[in-house]
Amino acid sequence: MAKNKRVFIKGNEAVAYGALAAGCRCFFGYPITPQNDIPEFMSKAIVDAGGEFVQAESEVAAANMLLGAGACGIRAMTSSSSPGVSLKQEAISYMAGSEIPAVIVNMNRGGPGLGDIGPSQGDYYQSTRGGGHGDYRTLVLAPGTVQEAYDLTVKAFDLAFKYRNPVLVLGDAILGQMKEPVTLTPTAKVPASEGKAWRLEGKGKRKPRIIKSLFLEDGALAAQNRHLEAKYASMAGEVACEQFQLKDADLVVVAYGSIGRIAKTAIRKLRAKGKKVGLFRPITLYPFPDAALAKLAKAGKKFLTIEHNLGQMVDDVRLAIRGLADSAFFGVYPGDMPAPEDFEEPIVKALRRKA
């Protein structure tokens, strides 16, 4: 086999390349910084690949087009950034309720409101708690490198169809704009039978199918929620995380995405000064890697969660290690650009703290 191609691309472009490699056939976009490279790239590339590109009239429309494509068993995607993703939440709730696979990309920017166009992790709660109305979850993948942005977007499509559920790829303005080398994989051959058991395709002679999120019959909604609960529980096996220099570490720094890799540099610098610190970087935010964190807590380690927000993932860290340990928190305000130097002092302080 020929050597896989290596390219030097932005995180935004990597997401688009990943979608194409996963066999994405429809892209529904609407512009917003800092993710505009995705629809810009897709407007040509997906058409060249034989797919469809629509610049919708709004984010709401784009998300509902996604719902429609997914209901037909089509691999489809939309991308946006924080304010735009808020607008998509109604459709995401409907997709979760009616079990429609879809991939949604959020290149998180500063908020609340219109905020700014810089990086932020302010959408952690929205991403991991469903995001729209009702009781549901989406799988959430949080790439920290441009290669991961590519790989996890490919994976997002497989997971969406495996679980018939929306999957969120959560990056930020740093990941979207930075360039790194990426090794591309061959384009997946999506089996024509994907979704055959449930997709809408014209009923022919079989019984009609209804894909819906409205359940008014006695007991029907409770049954659907019980079914969804079991489905979410079955996703636990998908957890992924990076563990860096944790074996002999006294302190575990928990950070995801871009902040995870910025923290890694701070950790390397502190290691060079003899500080026993390591990094735990969740790659899936839902399901959250609780078991791996609990194991570290049982080993007697201390914890510090670092985020680019006022403290959101730290809740999940504390839940994961409850009864065993606690986690300190250091937050960078959305609007500020974090650098490794900013993390060194909080890490040293947390290391000194009594467990």
Binding site: G118, E180, A339
Partner: protein, 185 residues
Amino acid sequence: MAAKKPKHLDVIIAGFGGQGVLLIGNLLAYAGMNAGLNVTYIPVYGAEMRGGTANCTVILSSEDIGSPIVHRPQSAIIMNRPSLDKFQPRLLDKGVQIVNSSLIEPRLADTKRVKSVLVPCNGIADKLGNSRMANMVALGAFVAATQIVPLAAVIKSLENVISASYKDLIPKNAQALEAGAAAAQ
């Protein structure tokens, strides 16, 4: 892994919008990638465009790269006065900077705390027939001063950043890189 000394260099490249600082950032990153190093490139974007200052950060490393953002860089390429004011104080002690002495008064370059290599980038580019290649002169000087990648790797990577319709400009840009390298010796 072999006990080879790890290679690591980060650089902030800064100048006016339009001086081509993002282009040489990309070029350096490609050269690093083509030379087998890990690389990251991140531009400053958004409000700081057109006429204002533009800058990007490039990291080249034999190890996997953590933060793509560097507050205090090991090195810098400084193409204009506002960039000198902003980044010279941030340069690490004993860091290396290429200072474009065509647009920056040489006396402003710190020669005690850091190593400043003064190169009249616009002047050299003018002599080669196009002052727009001042950025290539600066990158040539940078590569010669830091030895982070071979100059040949940079020249070979020109085809990665210059689009096919401007291919005929590659030899001239290569000349500018070489002239910059010679000026830094």
